[in-house]
Symmetry: C2
Amino acid sequence: MILSSSVAKAVKSHSETTENKYIYAFEDGNKNMKDLLGGKGADLAEMTNIGIPVPSGFTITTEVCDLFLREKNYPDGFAEQLQEQLAVLEKKAGKKFGDKKNPLLVSVRSGAAASMPGMMDTILNLGLNDETVEGLIEKNNNPRFAYDCYRRFVQMFGDVVMGVSPDLFEEALEKMKEENNVKADTSLSEEKLKDLVGEYKKIVKNQTSEEFPESPLEQLKLAIEAVFKSWWNDRAKTYRAINGITGLKGTAVNVQSMVFGNMGDDCGTGVAFTRNPATGEKIFYGEFLMNAQGEDVVAGIRTPMPISELEKINKSIYNELIKIKDVLENHYKDMQDIEFTIEKGKLFLLQTRNGKRTAKAAINIACNMVDEGLLTEEEAILKIDAKSISQLLHPQIKKSAERNVIAKGLPASPGAACGKIVFTADDAMQLATEKGEKVILVRKETSPEDIHGMNSAQGILTSRGGMTSHAAVVCRGMGKCCIAGCADIIVNASAKKLIIGDLVLTEEDVITLDGSTGEIILGEMEMQEPQLTGNFKRVMEFSDKIRKLKIRTNADTPKDCKVAVEFGAEGIGLCRTEHMFFEEDRIHLVRQMIIAKDEESRSKPLKELQKFQKKDFVGIFKEMDGRPVLIRLLDPPLHEFLPTQESQIKELADDFNVSIEDIKDVISKLHEINPMLGRRGCRLGITIPELYAMQVRAISDAAIEVVNKGQEVNVEIEIPLVGEVKEFTYMKKIVQDVIKEYGDKVNFNYKIGTMIEVPRACLTADELAKEADFFSFGTNDLTQLTYGYSRDDSGSFIPKYLELGILEKDPTATIDKNGVGKLMQICVELGRRTKKDLDIGICGEHGGDPSSIEFCHRIGLNYVSCSPYRVPIAKLAAAQAAVMGK
Amino acid sequence: MILSSSVAKAVKSHSETTENKYIYAFEDGNKNMKDLLGGKGADLAEMTNIGIPVPSGFTITTEVCDLFLREKNYPDGFAEQLQEQLAVLEKKAGKKFGDKKNPLLVSVRSGAAASMPGMMDTILNLGLNDETVEGLIEKNNNPRFAYDCYRRFVQMFGDVVMGVSPDLFEEALEKMKEENNVKADTSLSEEKLKDLVGEYKKIVKNQTSEEFPESPLEQLKLAIEAVFKSWWNDRAKTYRAINGITGLKGTAVNVQSMVFGNMGDDCGTGVAFTRNPATGEKIFYGEFLMNAQGEDVVAGIRTPMPISELEKINKSIYNELIKIKDVLENHYKDMQDIEFTIEKGKLFLLQTRNGKRTAKAAINIACNMVDEGLLTEEEAILKIDAKSISQLLHPQIKKSAERNVIAKGLPASPGAACGKIVFTADDAMQLATEKGEKVILVRKETSPEDIHGMNSAQGILTSRGGMTSHAAVVCRGMGKCCIAGCADIIVNASAKKLIIGDLVLTEEDVITLDGSTGEIILGEMEMQEPQLTGNFKRVMEFSDKIRKLKIRTNADTPKDCKVAVEFGAEGIGLCRTEHMFFEEDRIHLVRQMIIAKDEESRSKPLKELQKFQKKDFVGIFKEMDGRPVLIRLLDPPLHEFLPTQESQIKELADDFNVSIEDIKDVISKLHEINPMLGRRGCRLGITIPELYAMQVRAISDAAIEVVNKGQEVNVEIEIPLVGEVKEFTYMKKIVQDVIKEYGDKVNFNYKIGTMIEVPRACLTADELAKEADFFSFGTNDLTQLTYGYSRDDSGSFIPKYLELGILEKDPTATIDKNGVGKLMQICVELGRRTKKDLDIGICGEHGGDPSSIEFCHRIGLNYVSCSPYRVPIAKLAAAQAAVMGK
């Protein structure tokens, strides 16, 4: 298309005058610029600006990452900006990048808007080459240090940028240690380290057919590229997928003057939390190593010292650190996770961020900060990740149970877990997902490559690493039990053996982990329900005050009801009657009913079933004690109740004294090509009205009995799978007619409404609202129909979709706001247009998902309904939605 | 809810002052009041007001019917209005209802807004009882006539109102005739007729345990009720279902002074069309019987005389009729279907309505009326039922074929049909729908009870009845071949024999009907394509001038393309590539591709397939000669291409030299629980990109070859089953990359667009429109997903839904405007918001359905695409939509 000349002129002059800013010096950013500078960059900028000692540096924006990944090239003007910023950095440091006498070394670190620990790649000591290393030696008069930096740099760069397997470098290092008969890296002499650099460069050349780049500027550009590209590496993608991180442009890159914790014994490095991330106690909590670089602490190779020891070693540094931690916590109004380095007695902060914490810690910190006057109740609940509190809602090891403790490690992530031992992430995933086994992943230490196995396992046990090791950090994020750094155990992964003294455990053995004590227990332990008291209760009280959404539960049995009510459920949002049909004492009657050839022979088993169903409902009504109980009439296609195996068919035929052919006829008649789209829901009710009539009779009988015994009953009878208002009116009349049979005996309250799970129901909600007393979104089916996916079959393409980024999240877990959500909004709008105060809820998987709950709050639903264990999560998420929606 | 007192006051005063008008005298209505007065009532009113001689009367509105059916009672004030209107009627007639000396008799007839011939019930001579019959005798001095009226009345009333089987009355009549040794009803004496009245009343008493009502007012009220209730009788429901009549409130009831065509030889009755309803010729066309009541003509019991004979019998009446017919036709600007009665030399019109006609007649009448200056072209096309012209588009008996004519009847409805003989409607339906056989329904005469069988049969043959008999009228409406009143044949339904002289045919024999000549031919005749010339061509030219929608066709082969282009198709709207995969020479390669275990072994069969696909596309591009050709990339799940039977599986295993288990593994891996919602459409393309790439290569190869030979190619490559824009962009890139491989060789025009068949695609159409060059609605799948129905499985509930009125129409045949249509509107609106001139079409079943086409015009689509034979229908429907939309 040819632009008109005036338009073309305007476009040109625009691009000439507005130069894009690709790089920000730390002084130019602030903590609100996370989208552009990443979390790390924004926080480095913020710290710089509030006077915290931070090594100077600059941040390349996430936009550059996005442009680079799309265009496979840096944008115009980027190179100039990089030169400018380097010049500023050199001036501040009084060193020059690539200088033979006094070289500036930098670190290159990734940092996206959302924290992804261990996922992205980092390069330290960049700027070293055979010439600058001499400058470094000269300047510090410490050749061992200089060559140690150099060999580390070559190793990291070779791995991250040039793609050489880190094992090859490790092998060379081990070989060098063996040859020199030393055990620790630190025992290698400068000469040997220098040789090692040469070895490493040879390895790079052998593996890549390329020379190791000597030009510091080229090193820098390649490193930046590598960080950008790592945005799409498998580990990063897996982490984002597991943690539901979407919508980001990419990672920023932070280039920062190096400070060294490994320059001698007056140097060190550490990581710390301003409060205990496992318990929430207001205790400064962390670990450090003297004469080490940062990677040594988190990689878990050397076991670090607790932060309190620092006071003994260097009191003034320790006091400075305490002061800084208080400044940061007050500034950010949140618990901080910091990294620091001591270079020749001078303290530098390398990072601060809101610290990851266990749910227990999050709750305690939130409540403590309210008590300290640092946060309001509304601010406080936003500090808790609603999803994470599920870890508090799951069983712990029963207190009274006798424990056969075989070892003890660091209580790195609380909760309890038991399962079969596995030694590799792949085994963990295979056993867990394919065989449905519960497994404990046992490793020397974990790495980002293990994410999929960690996700599949019940819990993680490592023999190395501390409370901030990879395993510990990731597990706390996942809300998964972890015991780390258990020095008592020997993990022999190749032989698949876990050795504790004389005890040798193999893959057949079951162990139990207590993540709160660090105890490893032989065998399977009895678990107990969590105690939801203290600060947990307070957070629930805050939430109850703040939230607008009611929280109901999906429960089919009195037992489920009891748990849910204890968790604070305000009613049942979905009681599925089919689950009752499958119970052993009923399935026979159900089959008899299905096989019956006419209404008459169907009536006998129906009458029997009615008695069972009545009993079910009595139990539920009692337990719910007047709270609303939504009961869905039978939904699944009838063939689900029939057997498929020849032997079972024969048994059934014998039972009913009919021929096998008769049974097969019924099965084949009921067979459907697409059962999801077949005769189920109200289609069953309309074609076999006596089935729904039986259920309504059972409901009425039960309700009358419970009311007569002095409790209230509020039942909501739900017609499923309605897509056309006439389906509803037809079924409604059948329900009403049955209830009318009871005449004056009807002493309970009832409503008749419909599930909204067919797209057409949303589109005709104005008509449905004329007839229905309530709506309840069945977003499982609604999602499947809106996408045209069957959850049973989408396994053949959904993983590929997630991998390719075609889907950012699995829409069956989190409501697809853009599509399914639009239908829901249409439904709410049309429904309320007809009936202003129409009661609308949601049941199904999405009802317990915080992001979906936020959406439900926003579109004005009255309640969400979720599984009993998710009720507290839903309460908190609903309150958070109410605060954020203000 | 308690109304505030001022509101309550307002409500009260409103209901006091506004009395509802439930009944309209003919003088008070007009032809535009069909919704309220029904077609018959509105036309009686219109005729009354333009001075046509009509027996006076009044119409009870359809609203009363609706109220009565819902409340099971007449509305307040109705009885008073009925009394008032009866008084007016008595005054006009100079007779009194129920009077012993000079009784007013009335007819009670139904009449809905849409014509439903023979479907609703009629009662004549109402008002007779043992007393008033004496008055009738006295007044007319004709006791035989009076008792004939009386026994007819009791018979009709007994049947229609009191539910006594008409057979019982017929038996009594036959017995009476036998006993008196007479053959015709008319030969029974007054005494015998009087006895018959007594017999009939006894039958009523025996059957119903109720006395025959003697009070004329009670008779009237019961009759009105019976008419109302008949709205929901099975015949009426079936007729409405078949003819897609929906949205009506019910039937009106016309109460009219009786006039008698059976009072003697100066009396008579007839029905006529103002033009020939079979051919459209401008010839007054009808039948009459002297000394008969109206029912005798249409029931087909006596064979009536052609209308031209009336001139000889009573020239002045004939001339008056001719005048009236011209007045009516000019007034209504349409061909009229009239009923008249001559009472003692005086002519009365009992009914006029737009006459049903064959498609051929409709076309000729429309064109003739344009030529006569009566209609504009735009008005003229509205006179043709678009659906009906399909009868002109189907084969006729080949002209040159030798005919073994075994009998000849009246050419009651044109077209040709052949099939096996069946003798009952049930047999017709069973053979046709269950076994897929073509059948000819052979009956003495048809009745409304036969509708389902007539619908299933290819054609109808009757031995009795004329051109206006039930069979003839219904068949013309259905566009189905019919030969009526074939006196040469004897139909012995109980013995299942069709006897023509010495020839005895049974259910195994095949006959052919020529509905245009009335010839019955033994055996199956060769058919020939219709000639679409003359007025048909003119109507198409009118349509082409008027319509806004383009018409494309769904065609997968060059042969289909040829037919479609001859019918005037302007492009291909859907070329399904999977049909090509099933052809014998390819299926082997397709299976080889599916069984292949990796990309490499898949590439060989794909390369072979590409050659075949190229050949297909060359043929299509050539035939379409530069018209747009939309090609959908492979859509169905792969398992559809694999065999299911053990023997075929073995064959396949042998062919590919693999084990049976290998094949079974592939089949079981591809098995899906809900294949409609599984891996198909673009999900295939994304998971097996080389498959779509092959198809795009075949398209490109073909297009380049055809362009090089001098034709133009405009191809539209369609990605199916897209629900998320990233699916589209991913596939689009694959398509573009393949085309890029051809570099400068690309000499054809192409667009890349998507099918809109997943609800989510509609909801995110704004995003899709950014990437897609065009949209094409796949309303088959869209309907299934929006309702959550699978067409394969809905047989277990859709018939019940239609029967119960839960669905008014099958949404897979006519677009569900209320649900699916809303999604389409959302899609068009969002799509065009992004891309103002986005090309949007529709393919699939709905593209050839006039009501759906009207909707597509209204929401602004660019084209509809339908099967080749439906192209002319679509053109006409599109033009009608354009006229109506003005």
